[in-house]
């Protein structure tokens, strides 16, 4: 009994899951339309676009680094893709590949600068957030480029009823990354690198390579999520994804990811994203002023960290 309680307590995503269930119950009691098919569609459409970003941001946080530039990559990557077809005449699939390369390049730069100069990634990626956004705005020339008709939009956002194809992409990424993080040796290196970098490198792990990989993975996923949103909107907006970086970090933290590195799980990322999406939608359905959304997310983030600290201390005391 004690050991079950302890196992539950020491898993921060469990408390987030309990919170998610309570919030869902609360909203469905308060707003009868909340649990309807039509409304679940709305939440399920929006979920993967944040969720894919959170997967990358969360794994990078486990490795002990931050990425504040994901919101800007979310805009630049699809923008370059659209311009590559519309203005430069590339094949749509080649253009998608170019969009990914842009994202990977920003991720590489984030990692390289951070590691080469040993500066906090918070600073590197804050700078990159402004720079990449600026490039996106300049490239677009102030207004969205024409959206070519021949993109394989269906592959990314086909309407499948309760959800879009993007949900399947999210599920695919989540499964692959969960296996990587929790069951592969690479995952073990990521946790070790974030938890205690000195111990990791003393045991022969190339922590620079591990971090660089996580930076690039994070940026790639942000670009991918931006493409999904762009395909859904059928328009490449230079202002796309503003604020996504903070929502993604909030989601990861709400899901139990440590800001110090070394702690977090894919389940936690999913639950954290779910909480943000459900609260966003639930406030609307409950006819509460939608401007309370940011308040709720902020309060939840603080609460989650306090709760996780308390719970970890309790679990440790419960030998």
């Amino acid at each position: 009994m004690n050991s079950i309680a302890k196992a539950l307590l020491s898993r921060p995503e469990i408390s987030a899951l309990v919170m998610l269930i309570l919030v869902i119950i609360g909203f469905s009691l308060y707003a009868p339309q909340f649990l309807t098919y039509a409304n679940m569609r709305v939440t399920f459409f929006a979920f993967p676009e944040l969720g894919i970003v959170v997967l990358g941001v969360g794994i990078l946080m486990i490795a002990g680094e931050f990425d504040l530039s994901v919101g800007s990559v979310f805009a630049l990557s699809p923008l370059v893709m659209v311009i590559a077809v519309g203005r430069w005449g590339f094949d749509p699939f080649v253009a998608i590949a170019i969009g990914f390369l842009v994202a990977l390049f920003v991720g590489y730069l984030n990692g390289w600068i951070t590691l080469q100069f040993s500066i906090p990634s918070f600073v590197t990626t804050l700078g990159m957030m402004f720079m990449v956004r600026s490039v996106a705005v300049v490239l677009s020339g102030g207004f969205p480029p024409p959206f070519p008709v021949d993109f394989p939009i269906g592959i990314f956002v086909a309407d499948l009823g309760l959800f879009r194809a993007s949900m399947l992409w999210f599920a695919g990424f989540a499964v692959v990354l969960a296996v990587m993080l929790h069951f592969s040796n690479l995952g073990n290196w990521i946790y070790a690198t974030g938890g205690q970098p000195q111990a990791a490198s003393d045991m022969g792990i190339n922590t620079r390579r591990v971090k660089l990989f996580c930076f690039m993975l994070c940026s790639f996923l942000a670009g991918f999520a931006g493409m999904v949103t762009t395909f859904r909107l059928k328009s490449a907006l230079p202002a796309l994804g503003e604020g996504v970086e903070l929502q993604a970090i909030a989601a990861a933290v709400i899901g139990g990811t440590s800001l110090m590195g070394g702690i977090g799980s894919v389940i936690g990322f999913i639950v954290g994203t779910g909480l943000i999406r459900v609260i966003d939608n639930g406030l609307v359905m409950a006819r509460i002023d939608a401007n309370w959304f940011k308040f709720a997310i902020g309060a939840l983030t603080i609460l989650a960290v306090i709760l996780n600290m308390w719970v970890r201390r309790r679990a440790r005391a419960m030998h």
Binding site: N185, A199, M203, G204, I205
Partner: protein, 264 residues
């Protein structure tokens, strides 16, 4: 060329113990510069198979620098290292571990947030079949099994191998680090101040483990500020000061009081 540091009480250089023909590890004229800091000024050092060498010296004497070079974490500026009779280039911890040199570092031997089982295998995770470029699925069952068995060796039977290391006491953490070195069948175990911040009881336990390694033929280099900690189990004491060796003497040829006089 190396600056000779004469020490009032130091043992004359010609009386230093010399390595046998089949020394486990031997290094010649190791020098290390950190920028303008001359951390090692040309040191000869060796350890025989199954021998416990106590390495003592004041803060900043260069003890950690020496063992970081021997464990591949840092590279010497000049000088040569021989392991099992062959000259080796210890370019990374992986290379050293592959040869059988395990190290327990002064501050951070373990990742606190990770379980005992995962800690034991960081960087050397057993994999199940399929892999791409060295990345594959960990054999978690084997990890837990081996960790459990290793934990009985160090009397840590009442803990699950899934316990996170942050839940362990300082002494238990050092014990797990030693168990890790035992599991990987090292030939040489280097311990950098493993008894720092430990209670007397825990210190004695760690000393017992090191002594038991000797019975299995594993040699150790044991670093300490405290001569009294290592004197009981050491076969030989090496003392350092300002980047040089100032004494290298068999325990049978000295007493702890002589030793104290010599190095203080």
């Amino acid at each position: 060329m190396t600056t000779e540091i004469l020490h009032e009480h130091a043992q004359p250089k010609r009386e230093f113990v010399t390595p046998s023909a089949n020394a486990l590890i031997r290094c010649e004229a190791l020098e290390k510069w950190y920028g303008s800091v001359h951390a090692l000024t040309g040191i000869d050092f060796h350890a025989e198979p199954g021998e416990i060498v106590g390495l003592v010296g004041d803060n900043g004497a260069g003890k950690s620098t020496l063992i970081k070079i021997l464990s591949g974490a840092e590279q010497q500026t000049s000088g040569r290292i021989f392991f099992d009779g062959k000259e080796v280039r210890l370019t990374s911890p992986k290379v050293a571990m592959h040869l059988g040199i395990e190290t327990i570092y002064q501050y951070t031997a373990m990742v606190p947030q990770m379980s005992i089982a995962r800690n034991m295998f960081i960087g050397r995770e057993p994999l199940t079949g399929f892999r791409i470029g060295g990345i594959g699925l960990m054999d978690q069952r084997a990890m837990v099994e081996h960790a459990t068995r290793s934990m009985t060796n160090i009397d840590l039977t009442r803990r699950s191998p899934n316990t996170t290391v942050e839940e362990l006491s300082g002494g238990q953490r050092q014990a797990v680090a030693i168990a890790r070195a035992m599991y990987f069948k090292s030939k040489l175990l280097i311990l950098d101040e493993p008894t720092n911040h430990l209670s007397v009881k825990e210190t004695n336990k760690v000393l017992d483990y090191v002594a038991s390694l000797k019975e299995q033929g594993i040699g150790s280099i044991f670093i300490s500020h405290n001569l009294h900690h290592i004197y009981p189990i050491a076969d030989r004491i090496v003392a350092m000061a300002r980047g040089a060796k100032i004494a290298d003497i068999r325990k049978t040829d000295t007493s702890i009081d002589d030793m104290t006089d010599m190095i203080v």
